[in-house]
Symmetry: C2
Subunit: 246 residues, 2 copies
């Protein structure tokens, strides 16, 4: 059995996230079905994380152990023939037996895209949040630096049964950049809670709108209470962008 | 009656070009229906050109004379509420009575996008041609300079009933640029024949593949015969990018 690491990218517009569900098409299902047609195996597939319905991935990692002797390159090309157009395999490589796409992961980077114009962009339907109001990028950037470091992020987590135990995470960087009318939020951390990036972005946008006061982010974090933070920004703007190993 | 110039952008993925047709949804139909809901008028709408099914526009211009007193800005915002998500109005302004979106046009710029990688890009489905083979950008760029200037472009026109009379056009510039795996062909001319850009791109790609010899472009142009040129590249990569007036 070889342990393989596969790197994917996918457009989440028509997909219900990574993890297999009843009655909804997910990336994992699309992936497993394509794989079965090529190697006639149904290995246990480890995804690097869950992603929500509508969320995209520029980079998503999967590991699995297979018996079939197909070369890595052939597997990549064959997967791209059998997968639907909204999912692509961009790399396949052999990894040590103890490698696990989720448990070996040292951190991840997400980006959140906002189309900031009075007029929508027809090419970014379901690929960015359309936000009509002026954005004070510098002010949001300064505020967002309060996220950086090791904190309990309870205020930035949708509480549900999935999250248990420790809500402490370490945010490595958080920055916001404008290129024309496209504004991109970029955040890296050792791990993320459920909806964490979307609530971070939603809170900064609520500050930009004046619904939450600028300067209060440290207090919102310290409060450890979801109600203190802003709304969860829509899934369409969110991209898993990088997955870090080693 | 005010004469108005409206600037649009649209994603052509699910649309059958500009011009109204039976049994196929076109940009003109979507536009007229939205307009009627706002001003209850059905003015004669002049589009700056036809575009084919599946072709996109970063900029498309329309002129029309209306009696309704709605302000230009209100019309823009209202149109964006009533239009489908794949069409947007980005500007509305009053123009002199004799302005005509098509006849006043002095030239246009098209871009053609190619995703040049062994693996498809899930975010460019129907938004770029996926081309797997290595591209010699420098060689194609040098070859393409033969397009620049005033020529009879019969070899680069799908002959049909639409095209009559003079096949002479003046190409102002033609360049090809790579940014990562995305290659963009940009061409401007005083006017374009039916399928002209797509045949130009198809011919350069056929040269890149070795199916047509590099260095023969001047002879293909002089031959004034569609059969000498390469295939028509797919519509999905083509964008009307700029429309020049005055």
């Amino acid at each position: 059995m070889r342990n393989l690491l596969l790197t994917l990218s996918y457009c989440g517009k028509n997909l219900h996230g990574w993890q297999i569900q009843d009655n909804a098409l997910t990336v994992q299902e699309v992936f497993q079905n394509a794989l079965y047609q090529i190697i006639h195996e149904r290995p246990d597939i480890k995804g690097c994380s869950r992603t929500d319905s509508g969320v995209h991935a520029n980079m998503y990692c999967v590991s699995m152990k297979i018996a079939h002797p197909i070369t890595e390159d052939h597997l990549m090309m064959a997967m791209n023939r059998y997968l639907s157009d909204d999912v692509a395999v961009t790399d396949v490589r052999q990894v040590p037996d103890d490698f696990h796409a989720r448990y070996s992961c040292k951190g991840k980077e997400y980006v959140y895209k906002v189309w900031n114009s009075r007029v929508r962009n027809p090419f970014l339907q379901d690929l960015a949040l359309h936000y009509r109001y002026e954005m004070d990028i510098d002010k949001m950037n300064r505020e967002a630096q309060a996220f950086v470091g090791t904190h309990d992020f309870t205020s930035f987590c949708t509480l549900d049964k999935r999250e248990k135990g420790d809500f402490t995470r370490t945010v490595k960087y958080f920055n916001i950049k404008r290129e024309g009318d496209l504004v991109t939020f970029t955040v890296a951390a050792d791990g993320f809670l459920y909806n964490m990036v979307r609530i971070m972005v939603g809170t900064l946008l609520a500050m930009n709108n004046g619904r939450i006061e600028f300067g209060t982010l440290p207090r919102i974090i310290e409060g450890e209470n979801r109600k203190l933070a802003g709304p969860t920004a829509p899934s369409c703007g969110l991209y898993l962008n990088k997955v870090f190993y080693q």
